[in-house]
């Protein structure tokens, strides 16, 4: 008998505690969810505006996007969002996210802004795990290396220039950390190729 009593007591206590926490969690969730969502979109907007510095657009960019299916050029494994900046309905810039899978440690997430002439407005590293103090100069917080991409395009820039100086290209690099810039350059170049191949996607 006493054995059953213990079991009932245990089950009762766990259920009661579960209920209390379910209620308090749902209250916290209800209150924090709108703030979390707002923070998320503010953060995204700030990031997009940083890259689109100087681009004149007036649409609500966070709601103007298309979904891009997983593909070989951008290396995205899930459909990713490409944001479109417009001025009075006229295409001004496209922001495409790409993944460089061959960095020194893990994937490098890159966001590239391309204008209507298929020229790069700017690129930014969104997330990376490169070695601090070595490969992390691709991050704008550490150096201006990423600004090298500004104004580059497939039409204007020779193929061989899409390389680090060590590989007879034009990109600066830090000795001891060439894998990282190679991966980023390749990915940004692929992003441009993707844009050129799929112009029609962005034209509605």
């Amino acid at each position: 008998m006493s054995e059953y009593k213990v079991i009932f007591k245990t089950v009762g206590l766990i259920s009661l505690l579960g209920l209390i926490f379910a209620i308090s969690l749902s209250i916290v969730f209800e209150n924090s969810y709108p703030i979390i969502e707002k923070n998320k979109s503010d953060f995204k907007k700030k990031l997009l505006d940083q890259i689109l510095l100087g681009v004149d657009y007036n649409n609500n960019i966070l709601e103007s996007f298309i979904e891009i299916e997983a593909n070989e050029l951008l290396k995205n494994k899930h459909p990713s969002k490409a944001y479109i900046a417009k001025k009075d309905g006229q295409l001004k810039a496209v922001l495409i996210e790409s993944i460089a899978p061959d960095g020194y440690s893990g994937e490098i997430f890159i966001l590239t802004a391309i204008d209507e002439n298929a020229e790069i407005i700017g690129s930014r590293i969104i997330d990376h795990k490169e070695t601090p103090g070595l490969g992390d100069y691709i991050d704008q917080k550490k150096s201006d290396w990423i600004l090298n991409f500004n104004q580059m395009s497939l039409a204007k820039t020779y193929d061989q220039n899409w390389r680090v100086i060590k590989d007879q290209g034009t990109f600066d690099y830090k000795a001891g950390a060439t894998i990282t810039p190679r991966a980023v350059i390749k990915s940004v170049k692929n992003t441009l190729t993707f844009f050129n191949n799929h112009r029609d996607l962005f034209n509605d």
């Binding site: 969690l25 916290v28 924090s32 979390i36 070695t131 601090p132």
Partner: protein
């Protein structure tokens, strides 16, 4: 009583240096002072709340089922902290990443509930959570300061994530971060810094004995 608990938490039974519990966040997060401080505060919060929620029901908890019950309480509290930090400061949430949810698995929280709160009344349990948490936070801050200074040449980097962009000036640049000693910022640096702290503490303890 409070004095003893203070001494236990901050020095004699220090969670980070003597009990060596919760090493995973201790080593992983402390790349700078801000991260260490923020994770420490989150842990204090969880420890106090879990101690004072378990203490009043300690006579009701059956011996055989105590661990699942403790974990249920701790997990619920950690999820609340996780959501709150996400809402309060997104950059900080990004910086601490997986280590906030991982407070659930931090042995120090469960250890204090098991060793103290399940045997003591509510007020001492409150102090136990507070001082054990403070002791751990202090270690996290010192470790963060050591690694940040040596590895990156700064102090209080990213502190504005916590208190607002107006306080960016609080970051102190000791020297150009290009000359930082990289090892300190990497995981091995965490082990070396922690072991130096333990060494220092043992040295003081032995000196006092003599």
């Amino acid at each position: 009583m409070i004095k003893d608990q203070f001494h236990d938490g901050m020095w004699k039974q220090n969670a980070g240096l003597i009990q060596l519990l919760g090493l995973c966040p201790t080593l992983a997060v402390t790349v700078n002072v801000t991260n260490g401080f923020a994770l420490g505060v989150a842990t204090i919060f969880v420890m106090i709340l879990s101690n004072i929620s378990i203490s009043p029901i300690r006579q009701l908890v059956p011996e055989a089922a105590r661990v699942p019950i403790f974990i249920l309480v701790i997990a619920g509290l950690v999820t609340i902290v996780d959501l709150s930090i996400n809402a309060l400061s997104r950059p900080l949430y990004d910086a601490l990443g997986i280590f906030i949810p991982l407070i659930v698995t931090n042995c120090i929280v469960l250890a204090r509930v098991e060793a103290f709160a399940s045997k003591n009344p509510i007020l001492p349990s409150f102090y136990d959570g507070l001082f054990m948490g403070l002791g751990l936070t202090l270690v996290l801050i010192i470790l963060g300061a050591m690694r940040e200074m040596i590895g990156n040449g700064t102090l209080f980097q990213n502190l504005h994530f916590l208190i607002g962009d107006d306080y960016k000036f609080l970051t102190i640049q000791l020297f150009n971060s290009d000359h930082g000693f990289l090892l300190a910022a990497l995981p091995p640096g965490a082990f070396i810094a922690l072991s130096s702290l333990i060494l220092f503490m043992n040295w003081i303890n032995q000196k006092q004995k003599k």
